[in-house]
Amino acid sequence: MALSSRTGLVILPLVVVVAAFFAGVGVSRYNQSDQAPVEGLLWPDPLVLKDFALTDHTGDKLSPARLRGRWSLIFFGFTHCPDVCPTALEAMSAAQQSLRQDPQFGQTGQTIFISVDPERDSTETLANYVGYFSPEMLGATAPVDELKALTSSLGVLFMKIPGEGTQYTVDHSAGVFFISPDLQLLSVLTPPITKTGLLERFETVSRFYSTHL
């Protein structure tokens, strides 16, 4: 694991690629073709996933190939997160059940929890964790350098914050990332994350995708 330095306050060097994320989250964008505002849509010029290699909670490789051709809703967090992460994952699990009836999300769509705390979140820990929220949810992580390949392409931030003794917490991007079947980041739903909010955002984004892309 690459989370090795106890002396540095910033253990996980952060990627500051945030153009579309910080500029566009929650802001209405205008579709170039009809000038109609589309709430929360990161368009035009969406970020596109670059190559990455994570390990999922079963030990298999998770790469862009497993996201291509299907919708993916991704949340970045860590299992020792007491508040934001379980709140978001409960909502994602409930939303996923409803989205199975959506023709675009269907049976191939997936929800993914990516741990930015590989020091504590082993494959076994991830398996128990995501399995608690949903048997269909994917969990994945990788050494920090590998994680950065993914987070940098999405503008995701994470930082280890030391606590008492050996304890620490992790500041992290807290949104749900909507990745299209073409690996485009089309939207980020920021907290509060609710089932209703996720369903509404997916309807908006998937409708735009099906009619414009």
């Binding site: 945030v18 299992t79 508040d83 379980p86 128990n128 991007s173 807290a174 509060p192």
Partner: protein, 182 residues
């Protein structure tokens, strides 16, 4: 203990200026004109301190629950509404539970899309006000889970206020509702 920032949703209302009716010290202060100026000042300070420290048992705790921790995870959070029907502010200076090694108040905040937690050494519940702990906002972070708890079981918490009896509360364990939010 250092004085922490007062949570913004519980900012103190204008002072009523009342003194505690059982404060013998204060009665003496108003009936003895021969006291020195320094002595009067000291008593005024004590009176101010007394007006902000009250017994926990005067608080009401409502809608409390502990998030069911996922298997293998020893960290979770508790949520509740603390109501102070009295006329004086009450500070919660600590929380203990046999079920956890440590309990700390935290505030979750999201800035520029990034979530972070701030530790609050204590919280204040102003007179006639509420302190609301809810997912995604203020919460009681619980670490070092001892044993395992399933939905429907209860966990006892002791809220301390610095003096007087602690407020005892038994909070049920349950998962988050999918649309639960602050």
């Amino acid at each position: 203990m250092k004085l922490p920032p007062v949570p913004p949703n519980t900012r103190r209302r204008s002072s009523s200026g009342r003194t505690r009716p059982d404060s013998g010290t204060l009665k003496k202060a108003t009936t003895r004109p021969s006291r020195t100026r320094l002595g009067r000042h000291c008593l005024l300070v004590l009176a101010c301190l007394a007006s902000t420290v009250n017994a926990c048992e005067d608080l009401l705790i409502k809608n409390g629950w502990v998030r069911q921790p996922p298997p293998g995870i020893d960290v979770t959070a508790a949520y509740f509404v603390l109501e102070n029907p009295g006329t004086e502010a009450i500070d919660i200076t600590g929380v203990t539970s046999d079920a956890f090694a440590q309990a700390m108040f935290h505030q979750t905040s999201v800035m520029d899309g990034r979530s972070r937690m701030q530790h609050l050494a204590q919280i204040r519940v102003n007179a006639g006000s509420q302190f609301v702990a809810a997912p995604g906002a203020f919460h009681l972070m619980l670490t070092g889970l001892r044993g395992s708890y399933q939905q429907g079981e209860e966990i006892e918490m002791r809220l301390e206020c610095g003096r007087g009896p602690a407020l005892l509360a038994r909070l049920p364990v349950r998962p988050t509702e999918p649309d639960e939010r602050r």
